[in-house]
Symmetry: C2
């Protein structure tokens, strides 16, 4: 058996998220596993680096799986691209050392959030960004974002359904960048709780709209109360952009 690594790009709009559920027809993981099982004639399980939520996109999701060494990396890539739906693409495939593990070996992850900050909608990006009509105060958002940096218990920024043992995560950096009508927010960390990035961005939007003060952020984190944050930002604006190993 070889250990294959794939780099996947997808439009999450039609899917219930990365993680397989039931027969897998509504998850990205399931779609890929089904094609690989079809190719090899036996059940294949793939390990994804980051479990993106329903509707969230990926520019570079990483996964690994073990299948018979009779397949070259190029054959695997071509087969997947031939049979996967057009909103999921395998942009690279390689054979890795046996101990390579897409989840355990991931060092830091970058999520990118795109806000279209104009009074009118962006016809081509309406499914790939969140439209905020009110002009956001980016300086205040930058100030607020600094309070998320570091190791914190992010219970307030988690989903109530989350069953993780530890709610502690470390955020290394948050970058805000304005470009041609878009406000792009990059959140870099060692890992994220379910819905966490969207709750952070939702809170930053509240700050940018003047409804939450930048220096209230630390208090919200410390409160561990989920009802203190801003509402979750829309799934369609979020992308898993980069993973470092």
């Amino acid at each position: 058996m070889n250990n294959y690594k794939i780099v996947i790009q997808y439009d999450g709009g039609r899917y219930k998220g990365w993680q397989r559920q039931g027969n897998g027809d509504s998850s990205i993981q399931g779609k890929i596993e089904n094609v690989l099982s079809e190719m090899t004639g036996s059940t294949v399980e793939i390990i994804g680096c980051s479990r993106t939520d329903a509707g969230v996109h990926a520019m570079s999701q990483i996964a690994n799986f073990r299948i018979s060494e009779q397949y070259s990396a190029k054959e695997v890539k071509n087969y997947l691209n031939k049979y996967l739906p057009h909103d999921i693409s395998v942009i690279a495939c390689s054979i890795e050392v046996d101990r390579f593990h897409a989840r355990y070996n991931a060092k830091d992850k970058t999520y990118l959030y795109k806000i279209w900050n104009k009074e009118y909608t962006h016809p081509f990006m309406r499914k790939y960004s969140m439209h905020v009509e009110q002009k956001l105060n980016v300086a205040a958002m930058k100030q607020a974002s600094s309070h998320f940096i570091g190791k914190h218990d992010f219970t307030a920024y988690s989903n109530a359904k989350s069953k993780k043992k530890s709610m502690v995560r470390e955020i290394y950096a948050i970058h805000l960048e304005e470009e041609a009508g878009f406000l792009q927010i990059r959140v870099i960390g060692d890992g994220f709780l379910y819905n966490m990035v969207r709750k952070i961005v939702g809170t930053l939007i509240e700050v940018g709209s003047g409804r939450i003060k930048p220096d209230h952020i630390s208090g919200i984190i410390e409160s561990k109360k989920r009802d203190q944050t801003g509402p979750m930002a829309e799934a369609g604006g979020l992308y898993l952009e980069k993973v470092k190993f």
Copy 2:
């Protein structure tokens, strides 16, 4: 009455093209006219600068219309953006001199065609570009494109249903540019026949794939035979990008 000019951006994917047909529900022009008639309480007719085909997009379509001077340009823009569907946006509105005419005053038009030239699909751009798997020979396409420049009878590059009196059009320039997996083709001219840009691009793709030789282009134009050109490139890759007045 004031003469209003609007700059419109749209995703043409859901529409039968710019031009109103019947009750207008399936055309961009019709959608805009219906909102303006709703706003003013009387029938409004708008003049578009370029009639984009079914499925073709616009980054900057220009139109003008006359309505009561009680409305400020800002009011018109806001009303349209409030009631138009999310795939049509009015990005600017101004009041012009009475003789301004979006079609007659247009000097040159730039159409942009996006080809995604990789072996796998682009999940986010699959509806906004044409996917060509085979690596295209861009040098040959550049050579071929030079033969379209100038004033020609473009019957071969028109649609058989076209009822225009004159098939003569002038192409000022064709630019090909490779960028991050995309091949972008800009065709600049004084005007275009129905389907003409898509037939030119389709022919360039045939040249890039080695099925038509660059120096056969002039002969195809001179033949005036529609079956000599390449097949029409997909509507989803085409954008009305810019209009000069």
